[in-house]
């Protein structure tokens, strides 16, 4: 089973065909700037070097800095 990625506000989930991937590589694969996105797995905030494995579902959302 691949990794399933829900990107908030972007419609259908993306399916990434990997068995294991680091968060920073996952964001790169999705073409997302790691300084603008947060990755959650089961409600846990993941950091760059955390890994996501086969069958897991993560949520990716953008954070805005303006005021």
């Amino acid at each position: 089973m691949p990794v399933k990625v829900n990107i908030t506000g972007k419609g259908e989930p993306r399916i990434i065909e990997v068995s294991r991937i680091r968060v920073k590589d996952l964001l790169a694969k999705l073409g997302l700037n790691p300084t603008e996105y947060v990755v959650l797995k089961d409600g846990e905030i993941l950091v760059d070097d955390d890994e996501v494995v086969d069958g897991e579902v993560v949520t990716v959302f953008t954070v805005k800095s303006g005021g």
């Binding site: 947060v38 409600g43 905030i45 954070v63 005021g67």
Partner: protein, 241 residues
């Protein structure tokens, strides 16, 4: 106690929250960090609904490019300190509110005194570096911090409660805190998110409803949708040290 003028002024919300609720607002003190797009709306409504004391801190001067979203200011105010203009305008809206304008940059050296003296802190800033200084002070002093950020048609809101939620730094640990770029946003979007910040403050002060504790509300103005992401686990060197 509320004066006859206050009873009349707040007569459309006292049926909702009672005189006791109105007194809670009157006895509350709020630090608003930033008097820009978010801050304009946050300040307007906190003053209008009758919180007792507000400290507003901002180092900026009013610029022409602010006027598309910073609704406290007009062309006559260009070049003036935002907090001074805000003070005079807001006092005309509701003279009952004690407003302290601080024209200064937020630094670790000065922020503790202001945070310590209030019940709730509102993050209406426009950069991560200053936000994390404010966040750390709130954490040290155990004060609730209502955060919002905006960009384009989007924004996020959450409430940080020291000891109960992740701090802002660990929530957004991947962001580049040195990044400084002009705010790119549709003018009305800080208004929408600023109102959600006011709503958080009201819930915290009155003890009603469900503040966004361990929840991050992600607002999309293009689709009129708000997704709530729940935070269940976190690790951080700031708030868990």
């Amino acid at each position: 106690m509320l004066s006859p003028e206050e009873l009349e002024r707040y007569s459309r919300q006292i049926p909702v929250i009672g005189v006791e609720g109105q007194l809670r607002l009157k006895n509350s003190s709020i630090l608003v960090a930033g008097a820009g797009g978010l801050g304009s709306v946050v300040l307007y409504y906190l003053v209008a609904i009758g919180v007792g004391k507000i400290i507003v801190i901002d180092e900026g001067l009013v610029e022409l490019s602010n006027l598309q979203r910073q609704i406290l200011y007009t062309v006559d105010d260009i070049g003036k300190p935002k907090v001074t203009v805000a003070y005079h305008r807001l006092k005309r809206l509701n003279p009952n509110v004690e407003i302290t304008p601080i024209h200064a940059r937020i630094t670790e050296e000065i922020i503790d005194d202001y945070v310590r003296s209030v019940d709730v802190v509102v993050d209406a800033l426009d950069n991560w570096e200053t936000r994390f200084i404010l966040d750390k002070a709130c954490w040290r002093l155990g004060k609730p911090l209502v955060h919002a950020g905006v960009g384009e048609f989007y924004g996020q809101v959450t409430t940080i409660i020291p000891g109960k939620t992740p701090c802002l730094r660990c929530l957004f640990q991947g962001v580049d805190k040195t990044e400084k770029k002009p705010v790119i946003v549709m003018g009305h979007v800080p208004g929408l998110l600023g109102l959600l910040e006011v709503n958080e403050v009201v819930k915290i002060i009155l003890g009603v409803g469900e503040p966004l504790i361990n929840k991050l509300a992600l607002f999309n103005a293009k689709t009129n949708s708000m997704e709530i992401v729940e935070i269940k686990k976190f690790e951080c060197q700031v708030c868990q040290e």
